[in-house]
């Protein structure tokens, strides 16, 4: 599904990613963990196609297509979804109006007809119900005045509406209390099917108790320094990132 | 400030005081023109300085333009009309009476020196006290100049530069502030006395900061000072103007021009701490009018010009250090603290003109108005139609102390390009009583608390001053505030 090879990325003249390689197969759940400054958010921005990044070298293939040559909207329509750590607020643009725009953009890309407001509302209602979200979110501006937890739920709602092939969730657990975390995790789990893939970018291992990864990778100083199964997350919890780095040096 | 200017000025003032205090007058041998300005005076100035014809023509052209211009009228400033015919436009500093010892320097000035922590030897030098061999400012200055020349850096007076490096002066003089630009630019271009000339060749970083302290000055600098700094490709220079010592001058009008030119990948940092005599704190009379045109041209790609100023003196301050961001990727910065006390009036700010692509400007301006002073920020950020990808961020804040001062903010934000972004924010309030109370509760006196809070308010600007200067500037601010916070 996703093949990243030797990705080197710079931001504002400073190199952050120094050769990241990662392969994610269909139906797999991967977790990328790392301390602050390791390059986690740069990795997710690179996958989304943020204009401020400079791709020094490397390649990313998504479903066999060259992702680096695709604009952000092309990547989204091809089935890639990025859930942001800090979702931006767009006051004045109604949440449901925005979701309908995104949904219809995808339908057109798939050669289908757009849905009108009424038809879309039914779909939105269903998805909001799955996530236990209050109807009042519909008319509010996108993320406007939302709490941290509400913003994250809104990201998952978008994921539910857009039904991507590959979702990359950047620190979806940050700023959430136990209850919110559980709701978000359950929402994510309910959306995962055998042919959908997921990359969880996270700092803490806590999230992984709720969404069980198949593979865990450790990102440190712009490189993946260790990969393993779910038990790797537990060792991290015990040894910390420093312990792991010490281990890597040995 | 410039050595000779300080000495001449201080001498005049000291003598005036001596006259008042001790009841007798002293004669100073002087060589000055009679008052008044005319084309003949301009010619005489040029002749006196033995200038080449091209420079005489430059002056005459400026003078002619000046006669056609009306005096500027800024609604905010209350100025007595200036009588341009009551000023003498040339005065030689040949004769400087030396004082016998530091005791001859008035108490008030000595106290200020002490509070500012200015070392004894420097006090002597600034007050033109007969100096023993221990500290010889002339030899120190000579050493610096030699070190700079070894690195290829030219640092001398404008008059010397006209003689030694005329092609450079001719090429750049008036290229950033054309004589016809405004009233005071025209006046200065006609009658400028002297100032600094700096040329940094490509790929060079001077071994030290350039300070007007150490410029050898054979000609008088007076009130119409002219500075020209050129920084060639991939070079850097940091220039410091002014000092925290109080500057007295019987000449009331100071109309200077500073021009900076930065080529590709060059960077110029210009720092000013200015403490001109502000006039009688009750009446405001006798203070200096400080009208300066300072402008930098970021001519080259990725060039950078950064202005930092701490303004605490003058009766009237009127200056807008500006940047013309012509080269693609060029950067302009302006950091300013303007403190007004007594009856001072300040109208200061900056102009950032974005012309090239992907240019950036940053403006941080802090104004503090105490007593019955008036403090205005006036700024222009202009995005011309070609300025794609430009970015500006401006933050100007004003603090009012005591109920009778006034603070004003006049930003002009002109947007003409869809990909250029301007972001401006400003606030005005009085000093935060809660912060003061918190400090006082920890045993700090109210005076010190106010000083601390204001230092915090100005911190961002102080951080951009060269280190030693920054320490002096903080002290200066505290000193000035001491008298204002009852």
């Amino acid at each position: 599904m996703l093949e990243i090879k030797g990705l080197q990325v710079a931001l504002n003249g400073t190199q952050i990613l120094k050769g990241v390689s990662l392969t994610v197969g269909r139906g797999e759940i991967h977790s990328v963990m790392g301390p602050n400054g390791s390059g986690k958010s740069t990795l997710s921005k690179a996958l989304a196609g943020h204009p401020s990044l400079e791709i020094i070298s490397g390649s990313i293939l998504f479903d066999g297509k060259n992702l680096l040559e695709m604009t952000p909207e092309e990547r989204a329509r091809a089935g890639l979804f990025l859930g942001y750590q800090y979702p931006v607020e767009i006051p004045g643009l109604g949440n449901s109006e925005f979701l309908r725009m995104a949904y219809n953009a995808k339908r057109i890309a798939e050669g289908k007809e757009e849905l009108d407001a009424m038809e879309f509302e039914d779909i939105l209602d269903e998805k909001m119900g799955l996530l236990g979200m209050d109807g009042k979110f519909r008319e509010r501006g996108v993320n406007e005045g939302f709490s941290g937890g509400e913003k994250k739920k809104n990201e998952i709602l978008q994921m539910a509406v857009l039904d991507p092939k590959l979702a990359i969730l950047d620190e979806i657990d940050s700023g959430l209390d136990i209850d919110a975390l559980r709701v978000v995790a359950e929402g994510v789990n309910s959306l995962m099917t055998k042919d959908k893939s997921l990359i969880l970018i996270t700092h803490y291992q806590r999230l992984l108790d709720y969404i069980r990864p198949d593979y865990v990778h450790v990102l440190s100083d712009g490189r993946i320094v260790k990969s393993g199964g779910p038990e790797l997350a537990h060792s991290l919890e015990v040894e910390g990132y420093d312990g792991l780095a010490a281990g890597a040096v040995r | 400030m410039k050595d000779d200017n300080v000495e001449t000025g201080l001498m005049d003032a000291l003598d005036a005081r001596r006259e008042y205090k001790y009841g007798f007058t002293t004669d100073i041998e002087s060589d000055s023109f009679a008052k008044g300005l005319s084309e003949d005076v301009v010619r005489a100035i040029s002749a006196k300085k033995e200038e080449p014809d091209w420079l005489l023509q430059f002056r005459l052209d400026a003078y002619r333009k000046w006669t056609q211009m009306p005096q500027p009228d800024w609604a905010q400033l209350k100025i007595e009309p200036i009588d341009f015919n009551a000023i003498s436009y040339y005065s030689s500093p040949k004769s400087k009476k030396k004082l016998g010892s530091l005791e001859d320097v008035p108490q008030e000035i000595r106290e200020t020196f002490d509070k500012l922590g200015i070392p004894l030897e420097e006090q002597k030098r600034i007050s033109n006290v007969a100096v023993d061999a221990v500290f010889d400012s002339v030899s120190v200055a000579t050493t610096h100049k030699r070190r700079l020349l070894e690195a290829g850096v030219i640092f001398c007076s404008i008059s010397e530069a006209v003689r030694e490096y005329p092609e450079l002066v001719k090429k750049y003089l008036g290229s950033v502030v054309p004589p016809g630009d405004n009233f005071y630019a025209a006046l200065n271009s006609a009658v400028f006395s002297d100032g600094s000339f700096v040329y940094v060749p490509p790929n060079t970083i001077p071994p030290m900061e350039l300070s007007t302290y150490f410029r050898i000055n054979t000609e008088g600098t007076g009130q119409f000072e002219r500075t020209l700094i050129i920084c060639a490709e991939k070079s850097q220079v940091s220039y410091i103007e002014g000092c925290t010592a109080p500057q007295f001058d019987t000449n009331q009008l100071h109309a200077a021009i500073v021009e900076l030119v930065a080529m590709d990948d060059a960077s110029i940092k210009y720092s000013t701490v200015q403490n001109w005599y502000p006039g009688d704190p009750e009446t405001g009379k006798g203070g200096i009018y400080n009208f300066v045109v300072k402008r930098g041209k970021c001519a080259g790609k990725n060039s950078k010009i950064s202005w930092t100023q701490i303004e605490t003196g003058s009766a009237i301050t009127w200056k807008y250090p500006s940047c013309i961001l012509q080269g693609d990727g060029s950067v302009g910065e302006f950091y300013s603290v303007a403190l007004t006390t007594g009856r001072q009036q300040a109208d200061t700010g900056t102009k950032m003109i974005h012309i090239g692509k992907n240019t950036r400007s940053l403006i941080i301006a802090k104004g503090i108005a105490a007593d019955r002073s008036s403090n205005a920020y006036r700024g222009l950020v202009k995005m011309t139609p070609g300025a794609s990808g430009a970015r500006n961020y401006t933050q100007c804040d004003s603090l009012l102390i005591g109920g009778r001062s006034s603070a004003h903010t006049f930003p002009y934000i002109e947007g003409g390009n869809p990909t250029a972004q301007v972001e401006h924010e400003a606030s005005t309030s009085k000093i935060n009583e809660e912060q003061l109370f918190y400090l006082q509760q920890r045993g700090v006196s109210r005076e010190q608390a106010i000083s601390a809070v204001i230092n915090g308010f100005c911190k961002e600007v102080f951080n951009h001053l060269p280190m030693e200067f920054s320490v002096e500037a903080r002290k200066l601010l505290s000193l000035k505030l001491e008298n204002s916070v009852a």
Binding site: I90, F98, A105 | H424, S429
Partner: protein, 440 residues
């Protein structure tokens, strides 16, 4: 349109035409002294020459040189049909109509609010000494030359008085309709005086619109908000791109008064609005918000002065402008806090979206503070749509173009949503939000 001959200054020509108009009977006699004071003031002020502080960004040269005939309303009949489309839902029985600057009782209908509101011709109202004195004082002290022109040439205006303690159930709509003609340019001078009695609660909507061609409307709105009164005051400026619109709003706010002023502006060949607000009573609160969206060569300018003259008053201003094509907008707004106005709080925010290479947006939010016990802040931004918001939307598959359109609409809606009634919000949406959708 004739061009003027070089020798006689425009001011002199205009003063002559004033004298002629008075000779021909200049409307209600009680207003003559006011008009004479205004023309005198006009002569003192003169049209702006280069670099005039009140017209920094609004170039009035072309307007000043244009010869306009004064509108004389012959028949009301031709206004009846165009009027219909401008009467907002819910205001059918609370509408005051002015046609080419003349108050038309025949076309007005205030049956729905007649218990709470008294509507009279201004000449009639000026028979009251207090009202006349107030009008004359504003005439002699006028600082805006175009407002002085209105003071001299208005025919008869309308006074709307909300009774003390009244609470209006429906908003009162004032439609100022101007007629244009293909072969001539006419100028009209609507004049509106609104007085909200003490402790009253009301909402007034003023709509400027026209038909039949281009015209020049030079209007004056005086608003007095009594102690403890709350007045919502909305202006929808819906003139066409070829017309000229100059308006001045002078508002006085009493103690604990509330004045909420919203605007939806369509611009014009030159459209400029001068807002002069005096917060005279303690604890008064004023909110001003305006949005404009311009295309082609349209212009819309705001010049505002808010004076905090009493303690503990609060003012906040929000201006959001979108410029496309070769249009120009400017906002020159100053908050002046006087020496006695301790406890003043003020905010100003000016945001502009510049969407084309030829468009221009200027902002000048100024502060003049003479008292230290204040909290005053302002901000201004200009540029294209927010890059982070745009990126976010594209990563959800929305095309850049659609995303930009949606963001422009959201930007304008943040202000149009503040208009007092659903009908007025809809009118504003139609006027400026949908206008932008059609532009790109």
């Amino acid at each position: 349109m004739t061009t003027q001959t070089a020798t006689v200054p425009r001011e002199v020509e205009i003063i002559k035409s004033f004298t002629r108009s008075l000779a021909g009977g200049g409307g209600d006699g009680s207003l003559i002294s006011l008009k004479e004071a205004s023309i005198k003031r006009f002569g003192e002020l003169g049209f702006p020459k280069r670099k005039h502080e009140m017209f920094t960004y609004a170039q009035t040269g072309e307007l000043v040189e244009t010869q306009f005939a004064t509108s004389l309303v012959q028949s009301l009949a031709r206004f009846a049909e165009p009027l219909k489309s401008h009467i907002l839902t819910g205001c059918e029985r609370s509408v005051v109509v002015m046609v080419d600057g003349y108050f038309s009782p025949a076309l007005s209908n205030i049956a729905g609010v007649s218990d709470h509101v008294v509507v009279t011709a201004l000449g009639e109202a000026a028979k009251n000494g207090r009202i006349l004195a107030m009008l004359e004082k504003s005439a002699t002290g006028e600082t805006d030359v175009f407002a002085a022109l209105n003071g001299a040439f208005f025919r008869d205006g309308v006074m709307i008085r909300v009774k003390p303690g009244a609470k209006l159930s429906a908003p009162l709509l004032v439609v100022a309709l101007s007629s244009g003609a293909k072969d001539s340019l006419a100028a009209s001078y609507p004049r509106i005086l609104v007085e909200a009695g003490e402790s009253s609660e009301a909402s007034v909507i003023v709509k400027y619109a026209g038909f039949g061609g281009a015209y020049f409307v030079n209007a004056r709105e005086d608003v007095i908000v009594g102690d403890g009164a709350a007045l919502g005051y909305c202006v929808i400026q819906a003139d066409g791109p070829e017309s000229w619109n100059m308006t001045k709003l002078a508002v006085e706010l009493g103690a604990s008064g509330r004045f909420n002023h919203t605007m939806a502006l369509n611009g014009g060949r030159l459209a400029r609005r001068n807002i002069e607000a005096h917060l005279k009573g303690e604890g008064g609160k004023i909110e001003i918000s305006g949005a404009s969206a311009l295309a082609g060569k349209e212009q819309s300018h705001i010049y505002a002065r808010v004076y905090h003259e009493a303690r503990d008053c609060e003012s906040s201003q929000l201006f959001r402008n979108v410029v496309t094509g070769d249009s120009k907008t400017s906002v020159d707004t100053t908050v002046i806090v006087g020496e006695g106005a301790s406890g003043s709080v003020s905010r100003q925010l000016v945001n502009a979206l510049i969407l084309s290479g030829g468009a221009r947006a200027d902002a000048k939010p100024n502060l003049m503070i003479y008292n230290d016990d204040v909290k005053c802040s302002h901000g201004a931004t200009s540029g294209g749509v927010n890059a982070d918001q745009l990126f976010y939307m594209t990563t959800r598959g929305v095309s850049r173009r659609d995303a930009e359109r949606a963001l422009v609409a959201a930007f304008l809606r943040s202000v149009t949503a503040l208009l007092p009634t659903p009908a007025s919000v809809e009118a504003a949406e139609e006027l400026i939000v949908r206008k932008m959708e059609n532009v790109k």
